[in-house]
C-alpha cells in the first residue's frame, strides 16, 4: 500500500479547473519531486493533498484512508504537514512560538524544539525574535521546522527555494537528508529542475494540471523532461 495515492484528483478554484485527474503514488520513505512550469498546478496539488482545497474523499488516500474531503486540521493530525508556498509564518509570533504552534497538533515523534535547533542551528540564537525579523532563508527554515514539529509521516514542501539566494537554497536542501533519515517521506514542489532531479528518487512533471511524465531521474533524458515541461 502506498503512503499517499491520488486517483483522478481534480481541483477547482471557483469555475477554473486547475487539476485534471492527477494520479500519483508515493511509497513510505521515498523522496518525490514535482516539477513543472508556472501555473502547471503543482502548488494546487499540494494544497489539495493538505486539505486546503476539498476533493471527493476517495481521490486522495493516505495510508489507505480516504482523506480528500477532510479539513486541513484533521489531515495534519493523521501525519501530513505542508510547508506552504511563501512560508506564511505567523507574524505576531516569535520564531519559537511558530515552531511550537506546529507541534500543537499533538503528534508524537522524533521532532522537538531541540531537534529543530540542531537541524537549523541558525535559528537557535533567534528563537525570541519576531519571525518577521529574520532573513528569507531563516524564515524558510522556520517554516520547515514548524511543519516538522507536527511529526509528519509525509512532509509536503512547496517551492522552498523561491526567492532565495543559491547559497541559502543549498543550506536548506542540506537539511533534507537529516529529515529523511528520520523515516519521513518527502514530496517537494520545485521549479528548479536540476535541483529536483538531484534530490528525488522519483519525479513527476505536471503541465496544465495533468501528469506528463513520471520516473526516476536516471531514466529521464533532458529531452523528455523538456517536452513534458513545456509541451513543445
Amino acid at each position: 500500500m502506498s503512503l499517499l495515492e491520488t486517483s483522478g484528483l481534480a481541483a477547482f478554484y471557483g469555475d477554473f479547473q486547475a487539476l485534471y485527474g492527477v494520479d500519483l503514488h508515493i511509497e513510505e520513505g521515498e523522496a518525490v519531486a514535482i516539477i513543472g512550469a508556472n501555473g502547471a498546478g503543482k502548488s494546487t496539488l499540494l494544497r489539495a493533498i493538505a486539505g486546503q482545497l476539498r476533493a471527493p474523499a476517495e481521490h486522495v488516500r493516505f495510508a489507505g484512508m480516504p482523506i480528500g474531503s477532510l479539513a486541513p486540521s484533521r489531515i495534519v493530525r493523521l501525519g501530513v504537514a505542508l510547508v506552504p508556498e511563501g512560508r506564511r509564518l505567523f507574524s505576531s509570533l516569535t520564531v519559537e512560538e511558530n515552531l511550537q504552534l506546529g507541534g500543537q497538533c499533538g503528534r508524537r515523534g522524533p521532532w522537538t524544539l531541540d531537534r529543530i535547533y540542531r537541524l537549523f542551528p541558525m535559528l537557535a540564537g533567534r528563537r525570541r525574535r519576531p519571525s518577521t525579523a529574520l532573513s528569507g532563508g531563516e524564515q524558510q527554515m522556520v517554516a520547515i521546522g514548524r511543519a516538522l514539529m507536527a511529526n509528519p509521516r509525509l512532509l509536503l514542501c512547496d517551492e522552498i527555494s523561491l526567492g532565495l539566494a543559491p547559497i541559502v537554497i543549498r543550506d536548506i536542501y542540506a537539511a533534507l537528508p537529516g529529515i529523511r533519515a528520520e523515516g519521513t517521506t518527502v514530496l517537494i514542489v520545485e521549479q528548479d529542475t536540476s535541483r529536483a532531479l538531484g534530490m528525488a528518487d522519483r519525479v513527476y512533471c505536471l503541465q496544465e494540471g495533468r501528469v506528463t511524465l513520471e520516473g526516476a531521474p536516471a531514466e529521464l533524458s533532458r529531452e523528455r523532461i523538456r517536452l513534458a515541461y513545456f509541451g513543445v
Partner: protein
C-alpha cells in the same frame, strides 16, 4: 483635593469600562468580528445574576460562580451555532447578525423582566470605603471593580502570550488558513474566544449591576463605552484598553464635576480628541 478625588473616582470607573471592552477587544482581535450585541450580552449577564440572586439569596458577587460558566457556555454555543457562519471575506454579515442579536436580546429581556430598572443589592459593600486622607476616600466597590479589571486583563495577557491556546488565538488572528494547516480547528478556537469574551462580560455585567441601576435598554451605551476604551487604547493592546477605560472614566468624572449634564459628553469629547491626535490609539499593536 476635590479634583484629586474626582480624578481618582473617574480612574476607578475606567476599570469597569475596561471590563466592558476586554471581551470586545478579544473577539475583534482573534477573528475580526465586531460584536454589536456585546453591550446587550453584558446586560443579559446582569439579569442572569439577578435571577441567581433572587432564586438563592446569595451575595451578587457569589452569583458569578454560576453566571460566568453559563455565559462561557452561551458564548461557545453562540459562536459555534451562529456567528461562525457569518465570518468570511465580507465584513457586513457579522455586523448585521450581531445587530439583530442586540435587538432580540433587548426585546427578550423587556418581555421577561419589563422595563423597570433593577439593581443587585450588595449590602454593606455598596457604601464601605477606605479613607486615604481628610477629604479623600475610595469606595471598596469601585476599588474591587478596578482590581478585577487589572487582574482579568493580566490573566488574559498570560493566556495570550504564555499558553498554547493563546498561541493558537494569535496565529489564527494572523492567518487562519495557515493555522488550520497545523491542526488549529479555527471554528473551535473562535468559539473559545467568544466564550472567554462573554465570561469577562459577565463579570462586567455583575459589577455594573451592583454599581448602578440597569434595565434592558442600557446595552448599546455600554457597547459605546467599550468601543471608545478599545479605540483610545489602540487595537490589540489589552493594557491599552485599560488605559483607554481610565481616560474615558476620568473625562466623564471631570465633565460631570463641571456640570452634571456633561459627563457623557466629556467622555465622547476625550475620545474624539484622542482620535484627532493619535488616530490609531495610544498603544496600537495590530497592524491592519
Amino acid at each position: 483635593m476635590a479634583w484629586t478625588n474626582i480624578i481618582l473616582q473617574g480612574a476607578l470607573l475606567g476599570g469597569l469600562y475596561a471590563l466592558f471592552a476586554a471581551g470586545l477587544s478579544l473577539m475583534f482581535g482573534v477573528m475580526r468580528l465586531v460584536n454589536i450585541a456585546h453591550g446587550d450580552l453584558i446586560v443579559l449577564a446582569a439579569y442572569c445574576a439577578l435571577m441567581v440572586v433572587q432564586a438563592t439569596g446569595v451575595h451578587p458577587l457569589l452569583s458569578l460562580v454560576a453566571v460566568v460558566p453559563l455565559m462561557f457556555a452561551l458564548g461557545y454555543a453562540l459562536q459555534r451555532g451562529l456567528l461562525n457562519f457569518t465570518l468570511g471575506h465580507e465584513i457586513l454579515p457579522p455586523l448585521l447578525v450581531t445587530f439583530g442579536l442586540s435587538v432580540i436580546i433587548q426585546n427578550a429581556l423587556l418581555e421577561g423582566f419589563s422595563a423597570d430598572s433593577r439593581r443587585l443589592q450588595a449590602g454593606a459593600l455598596e457604601t464601605a470605603s477606605l479613607r486615604l486622607g481628610d477629604q479623600l476616600a475610595i469606595g471598596w466597590l469601585p476599588a474591587i471593580v478596578f482590581l478585577a479589571a487589572a487582574v482579568i486583563i493580566a490573566l488574559l495577557e498570560v493566556l495570550l502570550y504564555r499558553t498554547p491556546l493563546g498561541r493558537a488565538f494569535r496565529a489564527t488572528s494572523d492567518d487562519a488558513d495557515t493555522a488550520q494547516l497545523y491542526g488549529v480547528g479555527i471554528r473551535h478556537v473562535f468559539a473559545l474566544a467568544t466564550a472567554l469574551a462573554l465570561a469577562v462580560a459577565s463579570v462586567a455585567g455583575v459589577l455594573l449591576a451592583i454599581r448602578t441601576n440597569f434595565d434592558p435598554s442600557i446595552g448599546p451605551a455600554r457597547l459605546l463605552y467599550a468601543f471608545e476604551a478599545v479605540i483610545i487604547g489602540g487595537l490589540g493592546s489589552l493594557w491599552g484598553t485599560l488605559a483607554g477605560g481610565v481616560i474615558l472614566g476620568v473625562a466623564q468624572s471631570v465633565g460631570g464635576a463641571l456640570d452634571p449634564g456633561w459627563d457623557i459628553l466629556a467622555g465622547h469629547l476625550a475620545f474624539l480628541l484622542v482620535l484627532v491626535i493619535r488616530p490609531r490609539g495610544l498603544f496600537p499593536k495590530l497592524v491592519d
